[in-house]
Subunit: 496 residues, 3 copies
């Protein structure tokens, strides 16, 4: 063998990704886009070049059968199916449906690619996601007056006049920086502006609510959601969505501390030590072989298989499919809501909450014990790949205990709060008062919004111990309860 | 050279780990285990396949001499020594000693592999660990009524009746989710259950206190500890235990924030930037060559050598061997306890605390100044690999200053607390009262349990600056002191 | 081709870094250093061996033209220019200027290498850094009596006497562990000590304020700063300084939570998922090609280019060159100060603060709107590599809104505080009182020092949402305001 042969050989081994053997022609429209935008926005173009979209046509994707399939739609229009998924394939798709479409060098272009655009190829994922509570994240907040009152007492604009503090309604822009950053903004076309560009003056739509990548974003085509929330921008990466950092953007704060708890758990420890050697691209995703400890996606979303090829869990973008309980308290942990739209829920007191203040669940809006059991079984099927039955049983028994005892602790806090309300030491519901605006009410709401949630997340994810106790969990819960008692004592003494 | 020769050659280079040259036969018992469990628990089996245990027999391990030795036992039974360390070698070892042994397909199997099982090959590590304060972590909490009172005021079940809050004793299950998650549960056989399996109905023991991987776990063979706390599950990885993530599981919360402080220090910064290029598997572990900044293990546990092969520090599983001070305050920082069992300590007031409330140490139970000096010298020997003497001296002088001044600050807090107790504004020790249950007492305990600890950890690990000031350190300590003063002022005014 | 040829070939491919082709002779002085210190401090020597300094002479560096240039000085002394940058080249440079120089085996050695030493080759960086506000970090705190009062109320030594708490001046050693750890200590020679070494007794200077790597360190040659703050120790790594972990050491605490916000942002998410494949060494640094999401350095410091080679942003060590606003509140967000020395600022009330308590800016000391616009344009040029104009516009409009509304919220807090001062319920400025020492004042200062900062950082870095709301941001701001109101109510009732 000659040296130059060896060279070619090594080059082939080291440089050629398998997909290069396939042909994925670029549409003339996308070629036109790239002619300018490669220079204007190199970061975007490079991201796309790294993506599978740039290398494989939908048609080629459809030919992959079984568990490795990525393209769920069967009836993809021929002109879309036969080319690489380039700029134009997404940003000019369904142009008529998009209020943000605008004429741009002979094309009708829209900036926001919506879940309904992605559904042209990924129809099953779209369908599932529509039933995912996250797709309704905007409306579930916006259309719930109790939650909106709580939100206003947090991100409203504070004002102090005549010795009294209150919070006025937040500006839209402020809301988009706070709650709706994750829950999703409403993106609307407000008008048109002319910008001078290298190609002369050009018109562009002026968007409000933009930028945003919230999971329940209301798009200009009236679809809900944002695939880029997890599959960032133009790499549309499976690997990225499988890593815990994807979930961190919205699930790291003290009210929903999933990421923090994960990194403190044994699972997170193993991931930190070993995940540089895992294959985050493999499809299907094989337990033990491709990864040796679950990430968020492995338990909640991903299609996983056993090394012998047998299915462990079907992929789902309806992410509560494997969740019996909703553990972030509103105000108590409760069985998961039946419908993605939770603003329809009414409890015994006719409030839009899954339980009442005394922890009676609004049963008809929540899943049944049977559904809970089925979901738990699906989840345990994943656990059992690495854990014996007694391990898994013990773990879930503790979770049940934690749900019950943390709910009891919140109930105790609510009893103190009710005593304070009953004695007119604070103004609760009624007469237009907010139950969330006074100092002592905020201590009460912290107990269920932060402390009880932290306790339950650590239990659910086996990340307990020190972190669940001292990092805003049990320790702070007991401190806050003691503060409520102290405050009540002082007020009562005063009126003596 | 023909192409197919090249292929074989490349395959040899890229795929063959050196150990494959060795023969490590699998016992017939372990073969029997794998026959079913490869399919049932692929994650477990894959972990083990990745481990050194699957590739090397104890006998082969014994042949490694000197600093690279991993097998410290000299008298390993022949049948164990001559085979790979498979399922049966651990899970059927010392069957008679295990209360959790059960008949399973002709074998006496136990789920929990204990430190005494591991000691069959790793006897020195077992011996050291038994003298490690961590092996007593369960008893040191359980048998100390002061600590258990503090624990109850945190994880006990709150109750509000007749206008008064109190915390009743926590359920066992709750304790196992909180303190004993890290300190270690007591694992006991409660009975037997029959499960239907693919092989028909089978009997399994029902365990309480399970799952758990706490460092002081009380095992069914009455041994204490859990090697898997740091060497996770079936990979038994040296590399994993050398990474800071291993310690994070128990040492990240605000009371013992070692991991957080590390990642904020210069050491942690260098590790974040460079550790993907370090060799975490090398034995011995060579400073500068295998790693360029210490991890937790490098300073506290690992056998480290100089590039010229000379010993820097001997490996120890008695992890306070290099620690002159115990810096988490109970309630003051103090010289390390002499014995692993700290529940035997009695201070001047006959309380089981290493100091009294005025910071007088219980000297006879704590190491001497001479031992402190010796331990500090060992630690400084590690520092000196990368730091000149004046650097190291300056660092340790600051640590001494921080121990002294943070103790003084806690003393100031205790003076305020004592004033409050003396004026009957809160009920301290005596008459069955808890000094940890009232709001103002919880502010006091936070000062030593959280704030002073954070200050000392940042000093000890050179992670100071912004983090040690503002992240629950000096800033919060001064705020909490000011709150105590304010509370006292208000109470005093009221009684005027 | 014979097998041994293949071997040589593979060895060449895998082991030879390109730089090995160059000749970089070691000076005889550095050879003398290494003779002993290779054995004494292997970690230091290994770090240096990994560095570019060990492989390339300044002269060779000067020959690199254009954007890949690392050596900005033109007039490097011949004896320095022609050898590798070894121990002696830095530690004996400018010996006469160094008060810490000492005679050591025939050389005049100094432990601290200062920015003025580095400037022998890196003159432009030194010049820029001198104008960087960070180089004045020590004096900007030390020479500002308002800040020093705030500092004392945090890290001063608490004392409780006659029922009253106060904070006495902190020890120098304590200050060096807290504020000056990041801001920079003053390193001084206090005397000389004789140590017994392997080479017999030797004299060394005794340094105070050492160790320290603060950004505004006052060095024994009277220069200000510490290059090792970001380019750690003896690898002097470009890659390390480009990673967010470098900034974390000083910018992670709740008062300046840049690192935490970054890791929660989409940028941080992409970095977490992909950065193991980025080239952190490339010079210039090409967007899309070398990295696909910005790190701290990419936006604030680095020289970045487009894949077509065109310049995006010039490197700067005057790190506010791209910053229109200073968003950490003192006590309000404000246009960046004109000068690096901020202790010269006087507001309308003649206080050394960039605004007064009512948010009137000290305009003549702050940059103009025009300069702000120019800096914002530079920053947006970086954004535009991956984002369309409407995205960038929307982002910066939100930032402006957040600056305005968070300033208003701080103003509301200040109105409550002023009411409390006016009613003599707390002692503010005047008569030697501190506005930062009482409990309620600390609640007020927390609002601008922690909460408003967190809100603005999340806005500036698009890391908003859950984290900016619940992690010490809007949620805590509203809680703290409610607490101020509650405290005021209670005090007022009491005096009724």
């Amino acid at each position: 063998m000659k040296t130059h042969h060896l060279w070619s050989f090594l080059v082939l081994i080291f440089l050629c990704p398998p997909a290069m053997a396939q042909e994925a022609p670029l549409s003339s429209a996308s070629q036109a886009c790239l002619a300018c935008h490669t220079g204007l926005h190199p970061g975007i173009v490079h991201g796309w070049e790294q993506s599978r979209h740039s290398r494989v046509t939908p048609q080629q994707g459809q030919q992959v059968d079984g568990l490795a399939s990525r393209v769920s739609a069967r009836d993809i229009p021929e002109d879309l199916a036969s080319v690489a998924v380039g700029c134009a394939e997404c940003h000019t798709a369904r142009a008529d449906a998009h209020a943000d479409s605008f004429a741009h060098n002979g094309f009708q272009v829209h900036s926001l690619v919506s879940p309904d655009d992605c559904a042209l190829c990924h129809s099953t994922e779209r369908k599932e996601y529509r039933q995912n509570i996250m797709s309704q994240a905007r409306g579930n907040l916006m259309n719930n007056p109790v939650y909106m009152d709580l939100a206003q007492q947090i991100h409203g604009q504070p004002r102090f006049a005549d010795g009294k503090l209150d919070f006025t309604l937040a500006q839209r822009t402020t809301e988009e920086e706070s709650c709706f950053f994750c829950h999703g903004s409403r993106v609307q076309v407000q008008g048109t502006e002319t910008r001078s560009t290298d190609m002369g003056p050009m018109d562009f739509p002026v968007l409000t609510g933009w930028p945003n990548q919230g999971v329940g974003r209301q798009n200009p085509d009236n679809s809900l959601g944002s695939c880029t929330a997890c599959h960032s921008r133009h790499t549309f990466s499976l690997a990225e969505a499988r890593k815990p950092s994807a979930c961190k953007e919205c699930h790291v704060g003290p009210d929903v501390p999933a990421y923090k708890v994960y990194t403190t758990s044994k699972h997170g420890n193993i991931a930190a030590a070993q995940s540089q050697n895992w294959d985050f691209q493999a499809l299907p995703w094989t337990v033990g072989q491709d990864f040796t400890a679950p990430t968020c996606a492995a338990c909640h979303i991903s299609l996983t298989v056993s090394p012998n090829g047998s299915l462990i869990a079907q992929r789902t973008h309806r992410m509560n499919d494997r969740l019996p309980w909703r553990i972030f308290g509103l105000i108590y942990a409760h069985p998961h809501p039946r419908e993605a739209d939770t603003s329809i829920i009414r409890n015994r007191d006719d409030m839009p909450l899954p339980t009442d203040f005394a922890n009676n669940p609004a049963r008809e809006y929540l899943i049944s014990k049977k559904t809970q059991a089925k979901r738990q079984e699906t989840m345990q099927g994943i656990c059992s790949q690495c854990h014996a039955q007694s391990w898994t049983d013990g773990h879930f028994q503790r979770l049940e205990n934690t749900i019950q005892t943390s709910n009891q602790a919140v109930h105790t806090a609510t009893q103190i709060m009710q005593t304070i309300w009953d004695q007119d030491l604070a103004q609760g519901l009624g007469d237009g008062h907010s139950p969330f605006d006074e100092h002592i009410e905020k201590t009460w709401s912290r107990i269920w919004l932060i402390n009880a949630n932290k306790i339950r997340f650590t239990s659910a994810m086996a990340g307990g111990g020190d972190y669940g106790v001292f990092a805003q969990g049990r320790y702070e819960l007991s401190n806050n309860l003691a503060h409520m008692q102290d405050w009540l004592n002082q007020q009562t003494k005063k009126t003596d």
